[in-house]
């Protein structure tokens, strides 16, 4: 075991945040905020969950991100003021704007958009040039190919081009799988980096039928890991794909593959790299989600750092987890291209001697867009963007999605389904991607697609009994608040329209949801049937795609629904995952 690592990692896990920026200089050259003090002998850059956002974005971080049980009050389950306090970020600073929802609308105007691949390219190139040739790696944690109308239309091919130009050397996946095996393989044939996933295996039937696999003996569909040389050192990068692809998405996209966390197989892989390959460091490039990674880090030994994603948590400092073999650092690098993780390692023989980590907000206004990447973005957008650029409406208020229970953009989507599909109740998935639009900004089809672009967008109208509706809410709620992180799938609570309810997150499945009422105040009756509209079903549906329903609703110019989302929380009064008014 590697007890020796314990000594240094704990002491030096502390990272420096970007100092609070007083004000961003418009169109400045690469700002000095990105001049990092040199440290160690290897630099690993980490991007994750960019959701195909080629252009800079507004993205409001959550005001509700509740942790229950042992996770209560712990990162990533901190929002607003509690988040700023925990990580020592000055209120009203640029960092406060990037990392939290505090005073979002005011700060958005002041500090502008974040991310964008042309801006990321400039930053990545600078950070790589700073450490010199052969001293750095660029890794992507997945959800790179999905999230825009463009990416959905070309099945992620645009993002493969962008990834190649950006210089991504290894990635793992999640939504990538929802394009199906053929599109995935076609994209990977064009991808210059490696696609790594230790936890995707052939089903027994597929193995029996000789389905394609990286390693037919073990049934591993993809290469599980790769060893990269940095200077005179060797670093093992292991890929961990989203463990619950066939559960969270229609199984028809991945019929031959079975997933799972697979920590025993992971342990064998880590041990093999340590013992036989004699690597100096082991990095897990993970799409587990942060709570799952924190639990995994306590069980699997020998991993130096988990570079995490999926749950879209922008966490400025790594969390140190102690396990039987020493310690493992766990990070999560936010979403939508807002952040770039910079892991500087001081590698020694067979060990990591020291670590420094920063999660840099990518302030688009501080970075000159790289001309080559900008050209690529313009070229891939060109054939599609014309059809999607007409203004459908203006945002009547701040439109955002992220939050455990509701977001104003999802209220809009639910309203669209209620009116266009003539239903009593609407259900909309609690995705964590989807952009933010400021009040008064125009809404185009491209914006609507950025909230809805998936490969199973068909709407449905179904008859469900009150007790079936409650069961669905309970089931999704348990995916979010199960006390065991390994039983969580990530994502947020299903959004509802025409329905209000009370939720007690700290309860157990079957006991969290109560007081279900229709918009007219009447209690839902267990045996009575209701007309329910929804989209993104794991079962095949035939209805119009959700983006057309939303566009119709917006074009019709109906008066905005300003009702508060009807979720009452119970038993979490002092939870640090809920932002209080004005904080």
């Amino acid at each position: 075991m590697i007890i020796r690592r314990r000594d240094f990692l704990r002491a030096t896990a502390a990272a420096t945040l970007t100092a609070g920026l007083p004000r961003l200089a418009r169109s400045a050259d690469t700002a000095s905020v990105y001049d990092l003090e040199r440290f160690g002998n290897a630099r690993i850059l980490h991007l994750t969950d960019t959701h195909a956002q080629l252009r800079p974005v507004f993205f409001r971080e959550p005001s509700v991100n509740i942790g229950v049980g042992a996770m209560a009050g712990q990162p990533p389950h901190l929002v607003g003021k509690a988040f700023l306090d925990r990580f020592g970020i000055r209120p009203e600073s640029a960092d406060a704007y990037a990392f939290t929802c505090v005073e979002f609308e005011k700060a958005a105007v002041r500090f502008g958009k974040l991310g964008g691949f042309a801006h990321l390219k400039t930053l990545v190139d600078k950070l790589r040039a700073d450490v010199g040739q052969g001293r750095s790696l660029l890794l992507d944690g997945g959800d790179l190919w999905q999230g825009t109308g463009l990416a959905n239309a070309v099945k992620g091919a645009d993002m493969v081009e962008a990834a190649n130009l950006l210089g991504i050397e290894a990635m793992t996946g999640h939504w990538e799988f929802t394009y199906g095996e053929q599109a995935l393989r076609d994209n990977l044939a064009n991808f210059k980096g490696e696609f790594l996933a230790q936890n995707v295996f052939l089903t027994e039937e597929a193995a029996f039928n000789d389905a394609k696999a990286f390693d037919p003996a073990s049934g591993r569909v993809f290469k599980p890991s790769t060893i990269k040389e940095i200077g005179s050192h060797r670093v093992a990068i292991i890929g961990q794909a989203f463990p619950y692809v066939p559960i969270a998405h229609p199984k028809r996209f991945t019929p031959d593959w079975t997933f799972g966390i697979r920590d025993e197989e992971l342990q064998k892989l880590v041990d093999n790299h340590r013992t036989n390959d004699k690597v100096d460091a082991v990095i897990l490039l993970s799409h587990n989600g942060m709570d799952v990674d924190l639990k995994l880090a306590s069980r699997v030994t020998g991993i130096d750092v988990i570079l995490g994603g999926h749950t879209h948590d922008a966490i400025p400092l790594p969390i140190t987890v102690t396990n039987a073999g020493g310690v493992t650092l766990v990070t999560n690098a936010g979403s939508n291209g807002k952040f770039l993780g910079v892991l500087d390692l001081d590698l020694a023989k067979g060990k990591v001697a020291n670590v420094r980590y920063r999660l840099l907000p990518v302030f688009s206004e501080l970075l000159k867009p790289d001309p080559a990447m900008q050209g690529l973005i313009d070229r891939v957008r060109d054939p599609h963007v014309g059809d999607w650029s007409d203004k459908l409406a203006s945002a009547d208020r701040l439109l955002y999605r992220r939050g455990n229970f509701s977001g104003s953009v999802d209220q809009l989507i639910c309203d669209a389904m209620l009116s266009e599909l003539n239903a009593e109740i609407a259900l909309s998935p609690g995705f964590r991607w989807g952009l933010t639009t400021l009040a008064g900004q125009p809404l185009t089809m491209e914006d609507v697609l950025s909230e809805t672009a998936i490969t199973y967008p068909e709407t449905y109208v179904a008859t469900m009994t009150g007790s079936q509706i409650k069961d669905v809410l309970e089931d999704v709620c348990d995916n979010l608040f199960n006390a065991d992180p390994y039983h969580q799938q990530g994502g947020d609570m299903v959004r509802v329209g025409g329905l209000t309810y009370t939720c007690a997150p700290a309860e157990t499945v079957g006991k969290r949801i109560s007081e279900l009422k229709l918009a007219n105040g009447k209690h839902l009756e267990a045996r009575k049937s209701y007309k329910v509209a929804g989209w993104a079903s794991v079962n095949e549906q035939k209805g119009e795609p959700i983006w057309d329903i939303v566009a119709k609703h917006l074009r019709a110019g109906r008066p905005p629904n300003r009702e508060a989302p009807g979720v009452t929380l119970k038993g979490v009064d002092d939870n640090a995952g809920i932002a209080k008014q004005g904080k």
Binding site: T311, P429, H487, G490
Partner: protein, 164 residues
Amino acid sequence: MSITTNEFAETRRMVLKGAGVAALIGLGVVSFDARPALAAANDAYPKEAFKQKNEADAIKLLYGKTAEPSDKVKMDAPEIAENGAVVPISATTTLSDVTSITFLVSENPIALIASYRIPDGTLPSVSNRIKMAKTSNVIVIVEAGGKLYSATKEVKVTVGGCGG
């Protein structure tokens, strides 16, 4: 799947023996109409154990004793089932003198899923696929040296969807 002829059952039994999986005395998932052939090859079919609603009663009727948890019983089961109708569960053990391996699901209408006899000299390793209606503990019992050892894991069954 439904196996109806004794001839087929005989062939199947030999295949299973040859594969080192040992003779089956019951199955939770397939309808099985070949009891006489199996009964002849094994001890009496544990009819009563297969009627019990909870695992403790089933274990008592099957073995007449209780099991102690052991980390020498290794169960491989998913955290969340990809399909509740076909959940792959396997068990192995480093214990010696293993004579049987039994699978139970607490929340199934009938708790006992299957019990496998392990003949002398056979590797104590069994894989099977079981049906689960809802989230439940899955219990593996290993009978070794006349004593019972167990491993338990909760397997979640969900309707799915809405992932981030």
